[in-house]
Amino acid sequence: MENRTLLSFCRKKTAIRKHVLALMAVLALSLHLEGLADAIDLSVISNRTGLMFKLAYIPVTSGGTSSRATQEAQKLILRDLAESGYFDVSIPEPDLVAKLQAIGLTGEGTNALAAGGYEGVAAARVTEDQTGIHVLGIVRDPVSGKVLLSRQYTTSGAARHAVHRFVDDVIYQFTGLSGIARAKIAFIGKNPRRGYDLYTMDFDGEGLHRLTFDHVLAYSPAWSRKSHHIVYVSYLHMEPQILSYDLRTGKRSALARFPGLNITPDFSRDGVHLAVALSKGNRAQRTEIYVTTLKDRKFNRLTFSRSNNLSPSWSPSGNQIAFVSDRDGHPQVFVMDSDGTNVHRITFNGFYNVSPAWGPSGDLVAFVCMNDRHRPKICLTTPDGSRSIQITHGRGQDDSPDWSPDGRSIIYAHQVRGKSVIMKMFLDGSHNHRIGTFQRDVITPMWAVP
């Protein structure tokens, strides 16, 4: 009996010693590693974010009075160029503009701009007739006057469509990269009276379009332009089910309607595969990650841990999936191969890291982290979890980050005093501004996967 008591005491003592050692080590770590969270080197993306060209813009009038639509188009060109983040764009001195307008788009006189350090001269003549709006866009080298781009853009719809195409071409001319002026965003918007519905809009918040009229809770849209489908979570049938909206036909069908939770769909870049989280009637409503396709709709289970696994996000190569799991006691972001193997955790700061979104260039994952005041903010990490940084600050709560198709900016839902809007910012924190004019609350904004 005595031996047993002694053994028990020794065990307790050993256990206490272990805990003290563990605490000491963690304390020492917290002192040593303070500040490491901010160690991310954003230069890994600065090759793209840092590209900046000084560009002169010359709005060319065609003699007579211009319509309101053409005036708006001229303003939009200037705004698109500035918002692209690639251009330090300005309209030169009025006398110089008048001179260049007077000689048209011949290239004569553009060398006067070279002295001002301009690396390009863009000019556009916007006209309107019965067939629609026409944008004649020209870009010249200010030194040689050589034409770098000359193209006519015509639209029978809104002028902005032609303008966006012109600006995308200007970006491509200077950077060799695709612009996002034709990119689209899907989001869930609150209705005036009750419930939520699915909306889409252009990259700049214009062209708002309501797709559903269900007046029920919905969230997490995922849009693949290759497959022409938006999938999202809807409570249309009282339980969270994943519905698929065919943008070509306007028809909807249930993609996943298993008992329990059917949530957080995400399209792979090829638009073929979808990763979703399903509880499939699990009593504890624990969800697991599954992969399916719109075509065969067979669900292949990837995770088998006795915990919640959700919010999958595909890597651009399609070989890996980032997801959230509380298998370690708290929700953290993990990465696994797309066959469910090679699972490893990539977030280590704090007890709440969720909503991963894998960037299109593959080298960064955005996610929601908690700041010092326990408010959700947007963070970035590398896919191996070696470096991370918080990129949104200030008041309010930020969630649902998603990457623009060019990987240079992030949109997210920003909530202050109960009002939620969509914000867009470059990775370095610049150009942080609200997009869209949607009057009511918005949740889970997502870019369309091109």
């Binding site: 272990k18 590693l33 370690d328 469910g340 080298d363």
Partner: protein
């Protein structure tokens, strides 16, 4: 002097971490044993119920199941702590490896028990920074290329980490990612070789279980069902505590048989 102080302080922290890591591992082993014990008792009770039945046994089983769930949750929570500590150890190792190596001509001889550089360069290694920095830099670039889908390039860079810095703490991971690069290039034969090398050369690697699975999967994708089943079964045998991988392996075996 400063370098020595940094290395000495880091070694103390590393030692502390090592102990903390051991404590957690012991906890986990203990808990795992208890979970296994409870599971066998549960099976026993279930078989008794099958033969005799009775409300009391039902109640006991329900209790056991609840207890099992609690212990599994605790086990996963401990695993989380272990993950966090592992990550921090990796960060510290990186810091130590990145610290400038002491100069033999100007520094006094290290005291017994002092630290040695974790990554020693081999002839021909770049001289730009410390060995740790160089290994980490190549490894990071390789990871970026891997994430971008440039598998051939990534494979070469991971191989460079191993050939130039064979004693680096990153060498084992690099070996795994070589296998991954080959696997996703659909070069399954070479991927198997790479995974085998990891299993043999880096038996302590945290990627060992995954290497076992990927090896089996490579055989499956090559159409060699017999070997695939053999290696999937091997996973169940060698890694009984890897629930996630075990479940996958069982499913693959069922699919193949």
């Amino acid at each position: 002097m400063h370098t020595r102080a940094v290395l000495s302080r880091s070694s103390l922290v590393l030692a502390g971490l090592f102990l903390a890591g051991c404590a957690t591992s012991v906890d986990m082993s203990d808990l795992r044993a208890r979970v296994d014990n409870d599971e066998s008792r549960l099976h026993k009770l279930q078989s008794q119920l099958g033969s005799s039945g009775g409300d009391q046994l039902n109640s006991q089983i329900a209790d056991m199941e609840a207890r099992l769930d609690r212990q599994k949750a605790r086990l996963e929570s401990l695993r989380g702590r272990l993950d966090t500590i592992d990550h921090r150890i990796d960060q510290l190792r990186g810091q130590i490896a990145s610290a400038p190596a002491p100069q033999p001509s100007t520094q006094p001889a290290p005291a017994p028990g002092g630290t040695t550089p974790l990554a020693a360069p081999v002839p021909g290694a770049p001289q730009g920074g410390s060995p740790g920095e160089n290994a980490k830099s190549i490894y990071s670039q390789a990871m970026r290329d891997y994430q971008s889908g440039h598998f051939t390039l990534a494979q070469k860079e991971f191989a460079e980490v191993i050939s130039r810095y064979p004693s680096s703490y990153l060498a084992g991971s690099a070996q795994f990612w070589i296998g991954q690069s080959l696997f996703y290039s659909k070069n399954y034969k070479d991927a198997i070789d790479a995974y085998n090398q990891l299993i043999q050369k880096y038996p302590e690697s945290g990627k060992k279980a995954d290497a076992f699975y990927k090896r089996a999967m490579s055989y499956e994708l090559m159409g060699d069902k017999t070997q695939a089943i053999h290696y999937y079964k091997k996973i169940l045998e060698v890694f009984p505590a890897e629930n996630d991988l075990d479940e996958k392996a069982k499913r693959r075996i069922k699919n193949l048989e």
